[in-house]
Symmetry: C2
Subunit: 344 residues, 2 copies
């Protein structure tokens, strides 16, 4: 005996001898419904095994209760943490997530944005691809007043909020830490400077040098995609240098770790010859020897903040147009890779 037919509000209405309208209202705590009727409706709904039909509801109310998410890649620990935070927050707020990835390639990002638009998401959460140079593909959203929130890899826009950490300050702190531990010739593994996160990290790095009267050298910046291969290549770049750096500050942990592996294979001692620091507190930073000094910040919190900031806007609790950015906490985690003076 399978209860094949789906229960609708009409079934409940008939069952209770009231109108469908009242059922609809009772089900969503409409103020003008008698407490008693509401209770009866809830009971009947449960007894009959009612499930609301979101399509009918979306069709009528013109709300999809769906949030689109575009991330640069799925297979990174940081992004996974962000998605976990988003998922939980979205669930709490009664929203669905549609997740897509650009594979760090702007052309995919454009396609994804179109898809999201056609799926009529109520709002969009975006972290930009490595090579995105403008946000024309997001214009349809802005034009239609669909809220967009950037996280991590952001783009300034008056109608949009960004969820970030203070990358400048964090990078400053890392660099200062390396200097304080005896390094003077500090290399920086940078990402694409179009991306705020990498640009800010370079700025913090430069400012720290300046504040410690160390002159900046262009050849101490190695720009790459910061993936495994780039890490290895950066090491080979270093090995070829006449005047080698005495420290490396990498804009992410992956590049730092694979740079370290290659350098260690070449007989370089870490941190004695070259100290190291990374960014992100990826699990690999606790596995590499020596353990990698890095910047920790919670992807989970970033994800939560992005969703709540969006849903607050949708629910008219607060507008993303008035909030420029939400800055989350980050911490320098000091580990063996940066401690030249082992007695400290």
């Amino acid at each position: 005996m399978t209860p094949d037919k789906d229960i609708t509000i009409y079934d409940i209405a008939r069952h209770l001898n009231i109108s469908a309208t009242t059922v609809s209202r009772g089900l969503k705590d409409h103020p003008a419904i008698n407490k008693n009727t509401r209770k009866k409706i809830a009971e009947a709904a449960k007894a009959l095994g009612y499930r609301s039909n979101t399509f009918a509801s979306s069709l009528r109310s013109r709300k999809t209760h769906t949030i689109g998410v575009i991330v640069p890649r799925l297979n990174s620990y940081f992004v996974a943490s962000v998605l976990a935070g988003m998922q939980d927050a979205a669930n709490r707020e009664g929203y669905n997530l549609i997740i897509s990835h650009s594979l760090e390639e702007v052309s995919n990002e454009v396609t994804n944005a179109h898809t999201m638009f056609n799926k009529r998401v109520d709002g969009l959460l975006v972290s930009l691809a490595y090579n995105t140079e403008n946000i024309d593909h997001l214009q349809p959203f802005f034009r239609k007043g669909i809220p967009v929130v950037f996280f991590d890899r952001t783009w300034p826009h008056p109608d949009s909020t960004s969820i970030i950490i203070d990358n400048y300050q964090a990078a400053y702190n890392v660099t200062k830490h390396l200097i304080d531990n005896g390094s003077r010739r500090i290399m920086h593994l940078a990402g694409n400077l179009l991306r705020n996160v990498y640009a800010e990290r370079v700025k913090g790095y430069k400012q720290a040098l300046k504040d410690h009267k160390i002159s900046f050298e262009e050849k101490l910046i190695y720009t790459s995609k910061l993936d495994e291969e780039s890490g290895t290549r950066s090491a080979e770049y270093i090995l070829k240098m006449k005047e080698k750096p005495d420290a490396v500050f990498s804009a992410n942990d992956t590049a730092a770790v694979f740079c370290m592996i290659r350098l260690k294979a070449a007989g370089i001692r870490i941190p004695e010859d070259i100290a190291f620091a990374g960014f992100n507190n990826d699990p690999i930073s606790k596995v590499i020897e020596p353990n990698l000094t890095t910047v920790n910040y919670s992807g989970y919190s970033v994800g939560e903040a992005a969703v709540t900031s969006l849903t607050n806007d949708l629910n008219r609790i607060s507008s993303i147009k008035t909030t420029n950015s939400i800055v989350l906490r980050s911490d320098l985690i000091i580990r063996g890779s940066s401690l030249k003076n082992k007695t400290s």
Copy 2:
């Protein structure tokens, strides 16, 4: 000048002086539509900026084109790869994904399953939580004929297909490899034996021992959640043993790596004193020293296979009721952690 009003098939119909039905059919390549009309419809749709309203469509056709996914955790490299594969395949097939995670806890899995059911997903993809003991919470799907496909952490069910690798054979190969490289007293770090993946790995391990006339010892099995902390604790268990193992085969890389780290800190040499092998080919396996011997299999392919197997069922191309399981390829990757004889 914002084109505020949404374009519907009626607008196209009026524009072309044909009926909405024809437009509807033309838009989805219905066989009985003149090639010419179809072309005109497509052009008009584009010119007017038409986007189909999926809710109206879902409401009418009773299909959501949405697939529910329940994974044990989001923040693992393997799962991230699976999701990437699912995302791409789903996109190709014109389906959306709703992703949720159980955090390895059956109670969350139950809630997630309910949510998915209420969202009326067309199908469900599940990898079970660590402690799931039955699949009662999936009964509503089976009862309603909504296809369910298990991947990785599966459960036998006549109406469902499983996407797996041959865990038994892979574990057998790992164990044999360790034996071939001179180990006789091989410890196994196991997961919950309720989960097929871990049960099969134990079986393969035992069979390999048997085939090499090594008697199995209960105390050489250490069962845990296989997370970082468990890895560390397993090392402490080993350090307390009177007769220590000369090899460890861990059912995942995380436990293997953190076990290695702890043992190394205690002065144990790897692989000389204790050889190591893991499972999954997680990025950390290439970072730990010595690099970890492990079993590689493509999460991306698992994800793709799960989605296509589901959509093939939905599109009546092939039924998941007739396919019991799809077994994907896996490979033993031999690295330094298992090579006692360095000359090899």
